[in-house]
């Protein structure tokens, strides 16, 4: 591949400097790579280029040809450039041999000022109440190319405001600058062609096709790519101004895809999740289901302190006492009398410690609970456990789930006397209340209070995906890292710490003090993870296994698409 693209390199002069780019690169991308960002509204690198916002106008020229039809060379030995008298859009032009570009010439700046003035004619300028304020392209570019005052004295065009475009998206048509990114996204990526423009001229209005709503599972991506505040998330609407949000790089744990995200938080409250670009996983997108699946971390049902059953009821206690009671509850039993219900939502570190805990107790009945749901061929995986691959790699999960069946039978037959559930609700996997009441010891480590916690002998509150660090292997075998965005509530503790302490009270010191220690231990034992540390995983993850079953991330970079098209049209 590198050789092939080497052959297709073309020379382009950008702001006086000659550079090389692979053939098929969009000019706007080439300029960005050369360090001069060209402002744009309608262009998005993962979507097609309609060239309708006219913001990315640049001055362009082709090599001057001599009478012999050869480029005439200047004194520096490089081709001289014939500059075109009129500006061109850089988003719908590909680089070609000898092309010259000026991105900041007086003509270009004047064009941008003109485009900005036109875009602002009907824009309401209600930034104080607009959720996009602070990350609005229109705001950003009007700082650079906007006028201080308006020359427009007529009344602005009135358009529908506060339109419910779908269950999760609110539209303000007055703010829309008609870039059509949302329309193209729906058509090209979500494959749900529901949006379009009606009317003409300054009355052009974005709307859903008659009888249709923007209700597909990817609708909130239109909010992300909307360069202005026309499309806003109904969930995030008026909750918090974006400049207060601290954005932590993380990824979504709602299915096995593991879309990379930014978690927007302020003072230990999560306000939103937005997708983060990672071409190996999710491109620039994520599904609405995963994006909005963080409310449970702020739920009233969160377990805030360890509980131990005393005098017939669950009583709050401190961690030392809780862990001591768990140990004394487990002491009377030998390995085959204990079963561990692990979870595919646990991180590798937690699974590793769970496996070690099982080992030190002599437990062989350990499995994760499969969690499935409908998938699609865009991003959502039918496997709703984020770390099934990790659980299999660390031999916590059985391939076919038969150990889970064995656990059920063993509880039913009375062989298993103690059940430890790590973040799973046994009632949801076929272990009913009649079995739970029969168990002398049921220890649960979980985030939320549920029907099963009332049967527990001890409850250990743990942390959710945004509150802890750890690594997870997604469905395609990519190792990704969770970073802590918020602190856990109350007395809840990190899962790996709880298990480390349990092991310590069961069998003495184990030399694990930080999560890095856990990872080091794990990477020394598991060949797939050898040579890695938590920090080496990086923000975009590392491919550690090759289990590519799901389709590629949608919306490949435009350059790739164009190159593939070139190869198809002109096979060499």
């Amino acid at each position: 591949m590198p050789n092939e693209s080497q052959q297709h390199m073309v020379n382009v002069q950008i702001n006086g400097v000659w550079r090389q780019f692979p053939k098929g690169t969009r000019l706007i991308e080439a300029c960005e790579q050369a360090g001069s960002y060209v402002p744009r509204y309608c262009y998005h690198k993962k979507l097609s280029s309609p060239g309708n916002c006219r913001m990315c106008l640049i001055e362009m020229g082709m090599p001057k040809m001599g009478p012999d039809r050869k480029p005439s060379l200047g004194p520096d030995g490089k081709p001289e450039i014939n500059w075109m008298p009129r500006p061109q859009i850089s988003c719908a032009t590909d680089v070609s041999e000898g092309l010259g570009v000026r991105t900041h010439s007086p003509m270009v700046e004047e064009c941008r000022r003109g485009v900005m003035e036109f875009l602002l004619i009907n824009h309401p300028l209600d930034c104080p109440i607009c959720d996009q304020a602070g990350e609005c392209r229109l705001q950003e570019f009007s700082v650079e190319y906007g006028r201080q005052d308006s020359r427009f004295f007529e009344n602005k065009v009135k358009k529908p405001k506060n339109v419910e475009l779908g269950p999760r998206v609110t539209l303000d048509d007055e703010r829309c600058i008609l870039c059509s990114r949302c329309i193209r996204f729906s058509k090209e990526i979500a494959k749900d062609d529901v949006l379009g423009f009606i009317d003409r001229g300054s009355f052009t209005t974005l709307t859903a096709h008659p009888g249709k709503r923007l209700e597909n599972n990817y609708s909130l991506n239109t909010v992300d790519i909307c360069p202005v505040g026309a499309l806003t998330s109904s969930d995030f609407r008026f909750k918090m101004r974006v400049w207060f949000l601290k954005e932590t790089k993380s990824f979504c744990t709602s299915c096995a895809t593991g879309c990379n995200t930014l978690i927007g938080t302020r003072e230990d409250v999560i306000y939103r999740q937005t997708p983060r670009e990672n071409d190996a996983v999710n491109s620039c997108w994520m599904c609405d289901y995963g994006r909005l699946n963080f409310d449970y971390l702020q739920s009233e049902r969160r377990l805030l302190e360890p509980l131990v059953r005393e005098d017939g009821g669950l009583r709050p206690t401190d961690w030392t006492h809780a862990l001591q009671s768990v140990v004394s509850l487990l002491r009377p039993f030998v390995g085959w009398q204990i079963a561990i219900l692990a979870s595919g939502r646990m991180t590798n570190e937690e699974l590793w410690l769970a496996a070690r805990l099982a080992q030190s107790l002599g437990v062989t009945l350990i499995d994760i609970v499969p969690r499935t749901g409908p998938g699609d061929d865009i991003l959502l995986s039918p496997d709703r456990n984020p770390n099934t691959s990790g659980a299999r790699l660390l031999h916590v999960a059985s391939e076919s789930g038969d150990i889970l069946q064995q656990i059920k039978h063993a509880i039913w037959s009375g062989q298993v006397q103690a059940l430890i559930s790590l973040g799973e609700n046994p009632l949801h996997c076929g272990i009913g209340p009649e079995l739970l009441t029969r168990l002398p010891v049921y220890i649960t480590m979980d985030l939320l209070e549920n029907e099963a916690t009332s049967y527990a002998s001890a409850v250990l509150p743990s942390l959710g995906f945004a509150e802890k660090r750890g690594s997870i292997i997604n469905g395609k075998g990519r190792l990704q890292r969770l970073n802590r965005a918020v602190r856990g509530p109350g007395q809840a503790r990190d899962d790996w710490e709880i298990m480390r302490d349990l092991m310590q009270s069961l069998g003495g010191g184990n030399g694990v003090y930080t999560i890095e220690d856990v990872f080091r231990e794990m990477s020394a034992a598991v060949p797939e993870l050898s040579g890695l540390t938590l920090s080496r995983i990086g923000d975009l993850g590392v491919q550690v296994m090759n289990i590519d079953k799901s389709p590629d991330a949608p919306g490949e970079p435009a350059a790739e698409k164009v190159r593939a098209r070139e190869r198809q049209e002109h096979p060499q």
Binding site: P124, C127, P128, K156, N162, R237, F238, M240, R241
Partner: protein
């Protein structure tokens, strides 16, 4: 590095200190005479007497929220004052104006608006940053309370201090 400051060499008359003492007493006598003649007034009997009517227009007292002539609370909860506030005294919880409301066009309003007057330093940045002309520093300066909770001005208290302000830009009227 140390700098040596030389002590001044005093002459014998300066060493006596008497000329300085007398010239000081002449100044004191001058003030005393002016007071006897009623030309200067030194003490104001606060709090029985107050200077309130003499406060200049630019006086910066307690920040407050104002309403406009149409009885609309001008604040739209943009939270810029919360952002700019150097001691972080302001806390706003935004809310959405329901669709049927008279001012539904404005869409957003502060559900809660608290200013912690223990934290407030009367810098006036909130007034300066406000894009809606909704928060102004009024002339109230004697902010007292017996508990910390009392010292937090909530929305009701802020509107009470702020009152109605006339002649502001009517940005949200129907004609834009």
């Amino acid at each position: 590095m140390s700098i040596v400051v030389r002590r001044p060499n005093l002459s014998w008359s300066e060493k006596l200190y008497l000329p300085a003492i007398f010239s000081g007493m002449i100044i004191t006598l001058g003030h005393f005479m002016k007071m006897l003649l009623g030309r200067t007034k030194v003490t104001m009997q606060y709090p029985e007497e107050k200077w309130d009517s003499h406060l200049p227009d630019h006086y910066r007292g307690a920040p407050a929220l104002v309403k406009d002539e149409r009885d609309r609370l001008r604040c739209v909860a943009c939270q810029l004052c919360e952002f700019i506030c150097p001691p972080r005294a302001i806390k706003i919880v935004p809310g959405e104006i329901p669709l049927g409301d008279r001012f539904a066009k404005v869409e957003k309003y502060p559900e809660e608006f608290d200013i912690d007057m223990i934290r407030c330093i009367y810098c006036g940045m909130c007034e300066e940053v406000c894009p809606e002309q909704a928060i102004f520093l009024r002339k109230d300066y004697a902010i007292t309370g017996l508990t910390r909770a009392e010292m937090v001005h909530d929305k009701k208290k802020l509107i009470e201090i702020g009152g109605v302000m006339h002649g502001l830009v009517l940005k949200w009227n129907e004609k834009k």
